[in-house]
Symmetry: D2
Subunit: 429 residues, 4 copies
């Protein structure tokens, strides 16, 4: 057992850390002011391109991709601490070209895209010239149960026709967002995991319409944003279907594991920065003759936050290591564990930091409310906490049920082809 990062991971960690702390965080205020002063809140302040350029020059680019053809080819566990560092600033992920959902979309195209899709969409995406969105969740149904999905992707001769309404399509507000990956029902008569397809849809295809942008706790997260998007008789050549019809679930599954690790690590970065801001504030501000941190239970709050963050980080790193060494199927339970635990932890720590800041914490004078929105949203996005707790419980109980019929497992990490129907349900988003 060795908790030390590999030399290569440490090297990247030092570089990314330095970049975030010296290039990005000191310029957050400048970014915010640029954003506030520009006529269009959805425009991207030029600062971002400047920082992207600098990051790319330093080789801090597309670090999320395990594929060595497109970067350093770091493993999930090696990338994880970098994602944490990027999480410390809401503008950092884009700077390193490591922003969701571009990361997941890029992985999909690397693994399942056609050569043409790779050339036309993946290349500029990896170059940071365009951005993308992912259209899966639907407003009319409980999308935590993927079998509820109502949007359609129907083959019609050599075309595929899309209809339906999606929302919480993150990133679609960005001026550079040029394509989305759309998931829809293709063949309702097929096996439940073979019914859906993923389709690459250029944003300017006729019939695609952004109905509105959605706030998260009042924040639109410009210039990325979350859109409600309607698809009305959207016609595309059949080869827009990624990897062919019926492979939507398969693709979604592969996309999910690393994405959850990234989300969780970024949230841990937000929690760390929130704790740091809280500590600074509480040592600097004075009330009743003492620094705030020495009032009431504040020191215990700091300690509990430290413990919660450290436990969460180890939990996610262990899960990433499992993903790297044993594969996504073996890590299913752990992925649900961290998904259920980390956003809630981050929400609590950030809420505490807000409280330490008094009124300032409620406003947009600190990144805390943005962090809070991110953490709160992640308790729902990619499957609500409760669905993931259900997956964890099912895996825990399975061994005792099995025992009563026959064989038993020996510990939580076990099981290879154990994926049956229900497990999948909670893991599709």
């Amino acid at each position: 057992m060795d908790f030390a990062h590999s030399p290569r991971a440490r090297e990247y960690l030092e570089k990314v850390t330095a970049f975030v702390e010296t290039e990005i965080i000191p310029r957050e205020r400048e970014y915010l002011e640029a954003q506030r002063s520009q006529a269009d809140r959805w425009a991207v302040p030029p600062l971002i391109e400047e920082l992207k350029q600098k990051a790319r020059e330093q080789g801090l680019w597309n670090l999320f991709l395990p594929d060595a053809r497109h970067g350093p080819g770091l493993g999930v566990a090696e990338y994880a601490p970098l994602a944490e560092r990027m999480g410390r600033s809401l503008i950092a992920p884009e700077v390193f070209n490591c922003n969701a959902p571009d990361t997941g979309n890029a992985e999909v195209l690397v693994h399942y895209g056609s050569d043409e899709q790779r050339e036309r969409w993946l290349a500029p995406l990896l170059a940071g010239r365009i951005r993308s969105a992912f259209c899966m969740t639907e407003p009319e149904v409980a999308s935590s149960d993927a079998t509820n999905m109502a949007a359609t992707a129907v083959l019609d001769g050599d075309e595929v026709v899309l209809n339906g309404r999606k929302w919480w399509s993150t990133g679609i507000g960005h001026p550079d967002c040029k394509f989305v990956i759309f998931m829809g029902l293709t063949d309702p008569t097929a096996h439940r995991y073979l019914r859906h397809s993923m389709v690459l849809v250029p944003v300017d295809t006729p019939g695609v319409r952004i109905e509105r942008m959605l706030p998260v706790l009042g924040q639109y997260d410009e210039p990325y944003g979350h859109g409600e998007v309607s698809f009305t008789d959207v016609r595309l050549p059949a080869d827009a279907v990624i990897a062919g019809p019926g492979r939507g679930f398969e693709i979604a599954q592969g996309r999910l594991g690393p994405g959850r690790i990234h989300h969780c690590m970024r949230l841990i970065g937000m929690a760390e920065r929130a704790l740091e801001l809280a500590c600074r504030r509480a040592t600097e501000r004075t009330a009743f003759g003492k620094p705030l941190v020495d009032l009431g239970g504040n020191r215990e709050r700091v300690a509990r936050a430290r413990i919660a963050i450290d436990q969460a980080r180890l939990h996610v790193l262990h899960t990433a290591w499992l993903l790297d060494t044993a594969g996504a199927a073996a890590a299913t339970g752990e992925l649900s564990q961290v998904k259920a635990a980390v956003p809630a932890m981050a929400q609590d720590v950030i809420d505490m930091a807000i409280q330490f800041h008094g009124g300032a914490g409620l406003s947009d004078d600190t990144p805390l409310t943005g962090f809070l929105a991110a953490a709160r949203a992640l308790r729902l996005a990619d499957g609500p906490d409760e669905v993931h707790l259900g997956v964890v419980a099912r895996r825990e109980l399975r061994r005792y049920r099995d025992e009563r019929g026959g064989r038993g497992g020996n510990n939580g990490n076990n099981g290879n082809n154990e994926n049956n129907g229900n497990d999948g349900q909670g893991e599709q988003r």
Copy 2:
């Protein structure tokens, strides 16, 4: 012991309930759409004046005032359940002319205002023709400790001169907001509770400047809003000082008790409505073949919310009853108790309701994010939870400390002239 409301309170409760449920809530969407479609987000949709007119015609107007000259003269405990009903809709309080901080400002003018102040400011305020704000909290200091207050209200001949910066001045964004009550330091050499004054300041006085409006978790709560306001050499006649110099704390204290009850009861109304929305959603939506409410621990969440709300309501009603029957001093501990307990309870219930709604809960499609902002803000406004917990602890411990020197109390409700220095500190905002 009788938990039944008086016939008069029941009658008002029925009327207000009916008004909220049939006149206001069904028009929330219309209000929201009007607000979204108007050029100026800070304009008041005409709907409001229409509803105000109707409420006033039904005698549902200024119900908060215990003073029978200005309405039915309901006691705090009689008004409390009405405040709960008004809390169910973010637009209801204004409709009944019962919105904070106008309520507290009106009480101040009823009790301490000069005849001229009453005529010029109180009359239109009670008529719903103008609105007002309260300027106490400051950005540069931990305002939970009122002795930190840095803004000044200095007498200069027959004038008073104000300087300083205030923020979280709620309601100042409203187009009808015509005056603020400003609290500042007048005589730093006086006894700590005789140093400050309250001054009535017309908003258009030279030197008063709204620097910016502040969001709460991304929401500006238009058309009320929370402002950061600078006062630069603002000169007013000395009779603008309410009740004369040095009485700021005295006035603040009297203002706080009923205000806390109102805030808490409105939050209970929000929590009730959040629970109602959660139950409806969770019985209507289906996932994995069941209504959401039958998945995981959702039923227990509903039960715990019911318990938490009912306990909170009884707690606040008991405190209101104490305030009515034994006075503000006797109720100090209980006021801090409910202040520390109710906003956090409401935040939890509302957060749960958001979770039940999935993505919709995060957006502004329901009143839930507005409720969340209100509850979250109240954990800081009017003294952070932690300061109030400190007051509660001090009162609890006092009897044991006293015992060790001499006399002891006999139970939490006791104590008449026990107010000493520190208690006041946490109770000034």
Copy 3:
């Protein structure tokens, strides 16, 4: 709305309070030492009879009975604060002849007993000469679901024959325990609420055997204790069946409401005393140069305990008032609410008080571990918390289901005329 107790209730409250504080609590140590020094841990130290005599002389006797023929005839809400005071000492309830399950058994006999049963068993019970137990829960089945009950009470000519095994029969260890009330299945073909009977069984009836006494968290709670009791072909005259065959559920239901109030109020008394002990300890002990209470978050713990206790008390008092004024059926939801909330609250406060005491808190040097066992047991006794949360949730959701067209849901706990149906299931123990 009036939170003041009636003059009569206040008078009794003062008397009981004084008795507990001056007669009982100062003699707890003497009691403990007597108990430790006697050869038989299950003998009753003579002190108890002395105190009983004194209480009876002061008219502080059988206060729990609303029936004016047997005492002052206090309502449930009037008795509730007295039960709280009795809860402050583990030996107090017996002193006032108000100990469970004698209280519930006495109520059963008052309402349903035959004249002969009243004369032979009720009279000495109310005189404090004998004690009793209640045999309902069974070891082999989840007794929270009363339909699981397997013990039988079968009529055979003019006799009733009992078979089965019960446990957690509280009080059966007491040397004066002379009878039990046994609940068993009489007619499995009858309506589910007409199948069971209650039978009065003298403890010395052949076939009744105390198999063992059960500890609660290691404590046997001598001389009362909790027994596992077997009934093997126990034959009694048919008139031992209380109120006749098939009325077991009906009787159980009537017995439950007041009993829950009593339990909850005693727990509130324990929580109050625990908080008092905690405050004393934490102001007297010093570490790191400060009283313990000024270290870390201890003051917040004191404040939160105060809030939790006060909310719980109001909650139970309100429920008692409902029981008195609207009847048991109207109070079903509230009874489940307090049953689910109060023992857990008490457990938390007591655990906190233990922590404040350091090692001493873990030992039997204070009443805290006895209180902890009582609170912990009550989270299971009389229906586990979770069953009661289920009742609360069902009632909360019913209105929304009803709204949607009168039909019921299909959830497992859901009957059609469920009010009289399943609700009862969780309420039988």
Copy 4:
């Protein structure tokens, strides 16, 4: 980063796991019955010696000692998972000769003992022929602050004289307990960390008296037990002072780190077994037509327990790794973190398992109440949670205070060279 155990650690883990599951757990009932049936509850059922013999033969003996002269010489992180397995049964640690406080005492003698002490006491201790206790905590003072310690170890010529009263001396009830290590004040004028000495005291030395055995939540944990021990003019040769006078703190510090890891890992083992028992019970028992686990929020409870246990295990393993690779000083903060977090986690999981068992969980029919007592005690033993939270907070805040110019704050716990100073205070027990 590699979360896999070393081959050697895996091999021991397999062996210890197999031994616990096949040799120990199946005989727990036999042990319990032997213990219940023997006249003296403090006698050791013969079963134990039999199991010890078998474990020793398999080389599963003294595994806790990193020193290769006395066993396999496993590192702390290698031993940690073995300690977890031993924690699954309350009788397992002794079977492997790995019971506290013998483990810590053995480590003290290995590192600091004289040759004579090693021969006379260490050898039989490591052979499992004798047992020992540790006397540090005192009843009269808050022992979390070691400077409160009042017992004395005064040099008088070539003798050392001990006086004072200790309690919570674990293991002193065991019939084989032959010596204790006593900590006392030697030179009150020395530097605070050079004042105390540790003295090896044969239990039969005149003046040593076990005043009583102390229950933990009603349980005496026979045959180990926790004693209150008085030392009255206990005279020993001066060479009984371990490593010479004034080195008490130094020795205590070295003893603490591994001990905390062991305690935490055993608690994790208890929590795992509690969860296993809970899952079995809840899949086997039925109520309301369903297995218990499918009622209410029970599945979420299972999931949250799984998450909490896994996070805690990673946390402790990481701390153990730090201890192994960077030393005790570097791991101080992490040791306090796990000490503050793991016992509370275990208490919660065990409490949940008790609830799943209904009445049976409260009794001694399962190991759960024993586990609960162990977890609850550990929230106080070896420094209360709150003291450790204080250490964690201080370390967290130090960097921000340092940043502000090297000066310290004025909070009570705060020295200047506080690293060696106050941190120690909370870590001495």
